[in-house]
Each structure stands twice: as C-alpha cells, then as structure tokens.
Assembly symmetry: none
Homo-oligomer: 206 residues x 4
C-alpha cells in the first residue's frame, strides 16, 4: 500500500544510519558493519543499494552541496533590490542558509564541516556575500573603509561557528541565529558618523 517499495525504504534507512555514523565517527572510523547493524541488515544488503561505502558518503555530501549551490544561485538572482529589501533580503538569505543546514544536522556535519570539499562551498558563499556587500558599498549604504572580501569571510565564519555551537545542537533556531548574526554584522557595517557619500545618494534617487 505504501508508495515506496521496501527496497527504497531500506535504502533510505541505510543513508540515515550512515549519516549518523559518518557524522559522529568520520568516514574512516565508520565501518560498513556499523551502519548495517544500526539498520539491522547484513553486508550484501548494503551493496544491493550502493556500489560501495564511498558512494553512500558521496550521496549524502553531494545532496547537501547541490542544495547549497542552488540556494546560492537563487540568492544571486535575487540581487538588486530596493532599500529595505537589501538588508531584509540579506537576513532572509542567511535564514535560508541556516534552514538548510538545520534540515539534516548529521548531513550538515559531514558535508559542511568534515568534507574537504566544503571549503569550496564556503568560498562560493563568500563570493556571493562579497558581491552584495560591494553593491551596497557603492550605494553608500554601508562603510566603504572595510574590504568587502574580509567582511564576507567574517560573516561566513560567524555563520559556520554559530551553526556548530547553536544550530546543530538545537540550541537556537535559524531565525534567531540570523538575528544574532545581523545584530553583530549590521552595526559593524553601518556608515556611522560619516555623511553618506553624496554621489551615492544621487545614484540611489534615480
């Protein structure tokens, strides 16, 4: 009666168990038998569903990486909004990031923190944020005396560590963490005492 065949469900149970094991022990210390005994299966069952241990790992990692890249892409396309939307949109984007990372904490641990390739992912995120910051700097909304790259890198660093210490353990919600991040990041970026760059204002009025 169930839409999914038993095989499909088994496959998913393997993936889930693998995620738990990989997240807590790492790839190498996770033995296939650890995964299987968790699911209550024996070795050949695993190889009915996956060609090898590595492929389970990859499926988990790639899954998140794809979603993550898609999120970045979506955010990139959303660039170029009006005033309030800009900062509101930024926070919204960060919430999306936290949401995604919170979807499956085990997978996030693996794909976003343990996997070597995660660095590339973070670099892409940095690039996206950097571009946004630069736009806003050109518009004079935020300080221009700070390197957009440095700022972006810092923002990503904050997101990372907040994810590890508050999001994954379930201590804080994505929204709340986004507030926290911008509670620090926004004030740091604000064009405080200095007059806004007149040219930027003109640009903005057009």
């Amino acid at each position: 009666m169930s839409k999914k065949g038993k095989g499909e469900r088994t496959r998913e149970r393997i993936l889930e168990a693998a995620a738990e094991e990989f997240a807590s022990r790492g790839f190498y210390e996770t033995k296939t038998i650890d995964i299987l005994s968790k699911v209550g299966l024996t070795q050949p069952a695993l190889y009915k569903h996956f060609p090898n241990k590595q492929s389970i790992y990859c499926e988990l990692v790639d899954g998140l990486h794809v979603k993550f890249r898609r999120l970045i892409e979506t955010a990139r396309l959303g660039i170029g909004l009006t005033d309030d939307d800009v900062s509101a949109g930024a926070k919204e984007a960060v919430i999306h990031v936290f949401n995604l990372l919170f979807e499956n904490p085990n997978v996030t641990r693996i794909a976003f923190f343990m996997d070597q390739n995660a660095e590339n992912l973070k670099l892409e995120l940095v690039k996206l944020i950097q571009k946004n910051i630069q736009s806003e700097q050109e518009m004079g909304y935020i300080r221009s005396d700070i390197s957009a790259e440095i700022a972006a890198v810092c923002l990503v660093g904050m997101i990372e560590r907040l994810t590890l210490e508050f999001l994954l353990p379930g201590k804080k919600s994505p929204e709340s963490l986004a507030d926290d991040v911008f509670g620090i990041f926004a004030p740091a970026m604000i064009n405080k005492g200095s007059e806004p760059n007149p040219i930027d204002i003109i640009k903005h009025l057009e």
Copy 2:
C-alpha cells in the same frame, strides 16, 4: 657542532613530513609509507622514533593544543586592565592567536581544523572571550544588548575563517588580520545610538 644527535634530527624530519601529509590528505589517507618516503626512510625507522602512527599525529596535535591552552591561560591572567589596555589587549591577544596559528600552518590545519578535539579548544577560546566581553559590558564600554556568548562565538568564527583563507595561505599577516577582525568586531560592539551609561562615561574619562 649541532646539539641534536642524528636520531633527534631524523625524528623531527619525520614529524615535519607527517605534518605535511596529514595536513593535505588527512590522517587516514596518509600512509606511513608516504611519510617515510618523503623523508627517505623505511618503515622500521619510524618505529624507532615513535611507538605508532597515531603517536606522531598526537604529538603534532598536542603540541599546538598545549601552546594554545597556554596562550588562553596567559590571556586569562591578563584580564582586568585599564580601558585602553582592554581593547588594545584584546587585539594583542588576537594577534598572539594568529601568530601561534601561523607558526606552523600544517600543524594548524591538523590540530585546529581537522582534529575533532579542536572544537574543545575553540570552546575554551570562546569562554575566555565571552568573559572579557562580559566584563566590558558590565563596565559599559560596549553594548549590553548583545549576548556575550554569541559575540564571542562570532569572533572565534571570524578568526577561524580568516585563518583558513588568509593566514595559512600566507596572504595576510597576523597583525593585519587582527586589524581586520577588530575593524568589524569593535564597531559592532560599540555603544553607539543609545545614551552611554553615565557611570561608564565617568570611568572612561579617567
């Protein structure tokens, strides 16, 4: 002339090669033979100097962890200075951290970024910073509407990522990075729009 015997030198060459390999491939993908062929030795030589592969890894990791904890301890003891010292001291402390992380990039990669235990280390750093922030919040020097813990976590996150992207690749110096960090973190913490706490002002004027 050299104080160190040949054996001691060999031991160090092994450690160094191991650091390179561990840093680039990780513990499990680094085979003892990879390390040895890099040094031009054969397997038994390794076991003359170390009880096993794990011990090489531990020696590298523990070395940095000890130094790191010592740094934190020193910083902790240095708490409770006068105003200028406070922020100057904070930046100084961050420089020390960057300096330590820059001492041996390979080891840093291993002990500070790959090793599971690094989380504890970072947690200790967070605690230290959190305490400092709390002190300053109590003194009214900085915003009190931000959780000291969150702020500390964010600061550590920034340090981490800046280390990975600028310090380890040699793109920026410890001092410059400390400037960058405080260029963002300090303004974010400043008690701006709100009326400053009168008591704090008095303190500050002294």
Copy 3:
C-alpha cells in the same frame, strides 16, 4: 498442445542460456544473474529448477559426455569388420563424432574443450582408435612401424583442432572434415614403399 509444461520450457531456456554463457565466459566468470537476465528471470526461479549453479553446468557437460561415451561404445561393438568396412567404418565413426560435437556447439565448447574431465573422454576415444589401428596393423593393412597409440593420439588431436577451427564456427561440415582427416591420416598409415607383409596380402585378397 505442447507436451512440455511451462516449467519444463523455462528449465530448458535456462540450460540454453547457461550453455551460451559458460561457453563464452567459462564457469566462474558466468554469474547466475547473467544467465537469468538472459532468460528474463530472477534468481529464485533458477533454484526452482536446479539445486545450484554447478548442477546446470553438470547437466550440460554430462549430457554430452554420456552421448559421447555411448558413441564410443557403439563404435567398439562395431569392431571387426571386413576390409572395406574397416576404413569406411572408421570414417563413418569420425563423422559420428563430428556430428555429435556439432549438435550443440556451446555445449561442445564446454564439455569437450573447457571441462577438465574432457581429457578422460579423449583418452577413451584414443583407446578405441588405438585398438582399431592395432587390429589393422595385425592384419597388415597398415604400417606396423608406427605406434598405434601415437597414431591414435594424433588422430584425436586432429579431430579436436579441426573441430575448434572449422566445425564449431560452422566453416565446414562433419562429412567434409572427416574427409580432411582421412585425407591426411589414411595416406600416413598406408603400407607404401615397403614390401607388404605376404600374409597380410593373402588376408587382403580374401
């Protein structure tokens, strides 16, 4: 209308597919699933019809081996004929052999060329031929300066290789190959330059 039930037909399709696979890949490189996918069945179906993989192989091999031994037995009983019959009968026998080997080329490949037990079969054939040759040698019809055993072995060798190179690929018919074999073997056996044994001549004139 068909005498055979569906099960029986399935059984035969399995045998046939197995013969193809065994013949082209050998026993070990043929996986049960290869056979089954060829027939469009799944694994349990196989075990409804055969106790195991080996038994399929045996059934194929034994089938030919039994037929072959029966052929040899028939030939053995037919020994002791008059002159013309002798050589004519010999060629007839070889045609029978080729016919049998041509009946199912795949099975022949397996049972006559790949199976270790085939050696015994060939040995039996050698023994039979050797006896025939000896009889004829005693009768003086053919050279006595050649070991009957050697001659028999050679004849079997020819049959084997001709089978592989011409019969199984369908390049030559059993009859034509029998002609070829005797085109070489008969002249080789003939009592040519030497004076024929007078006694033999007398026998021959009868």
Copy 4:
C-alpha cells in the same frame, strides 16, 4: 653472497607455486592462500611482489606467450632453405616447440591449454606452418591435393595432444615426439606415385 636477493627468490617461489596451483586447479579454484601456504608465506608477502592474483597468472602466461611468439618469429625468418633443409628444418622447428612446451610443464598447461588466449597463439602457429606447406607444395615436394590450411591445423592438433599425453607427463622427449609427428605427417604429405610437377623442378633448379 647469492646474486639474487631474498626478495627476488621469494618472488620466484611464489611464481612457481602459483604455476603448480593454477595448473592443477585452474585460476579460480586457486586461492591466494593455497599458493602462499605452499611457499610458507602469508598474504601480504604476495602483495609485496605482485599487485594482485591476476598479475601472477598473467606473468606466467605472458612469459610463455612471448617466448612462443619469438619462436614462431624465428622460424618464420628461417624460411626458404634448400631441399633437405626444408624437412629437416621443419622437424627442427617442431623440436623447438616441444622443447619450449617442456621447459615448464605447469606453465605450459596454463598458458597453452587453459588460457583462453592460447587459441590465438595456436592460430599463429597454424599460419606459419601453413605458409611453409604452401611453399613446399609450390615446389612440388609435397602433395598439392591437400589444403595447406587443413594440414597445418592437423599438425598443430597432433602437437597439442602429444604434448598433453606424452610430453607434459614426461613420457616422451621432445625429439622423440618430433619423430612421431613426422612419422605420421611426412608420409601423409609425400607426393607418392605421381611424378613431381616439372615446372616445380625447373623453379627449383634456378
């Protein structure tokens, strides 16, 4: 003191044991542990010397195949001799073949009788012999009413079976077997009653 290092000798002992096992059980029924227990070693020792089980097999097979092809090549270059040399040379060549096959009976069993690729080898031998026969047919030395190809195939068939039944078990020497082969093959080929073709004679006198 010995020229060969211990490792090299071990390698050879493995090869030798493998040849025995492969020859008697076949590739798949030979477990690496069978080979190793014969040599008194454990698994890793094998993999110090060979990348895998297959490579041991290949080294054995390729070794003989190369020698065999070299032999054929040498024979090919030796074509085109005078009268007596022709048949003498042919026998000589067959002796070389038998000698090679006798050098290492186990390897011969594997590379010349069990290995699938052996068929190609035999085909090459057939081609060589066929050419020689054709030359002699053109010169009128031997019967032209027999297909050179058929004759060559038969000759190879004889060699094969004689090898299996007499050479490998050590029942007959290469020379003796060559005599046997030509005792049958030469008379079969001889241009008995018929006058030699005049044109061929002229050709031969040139």
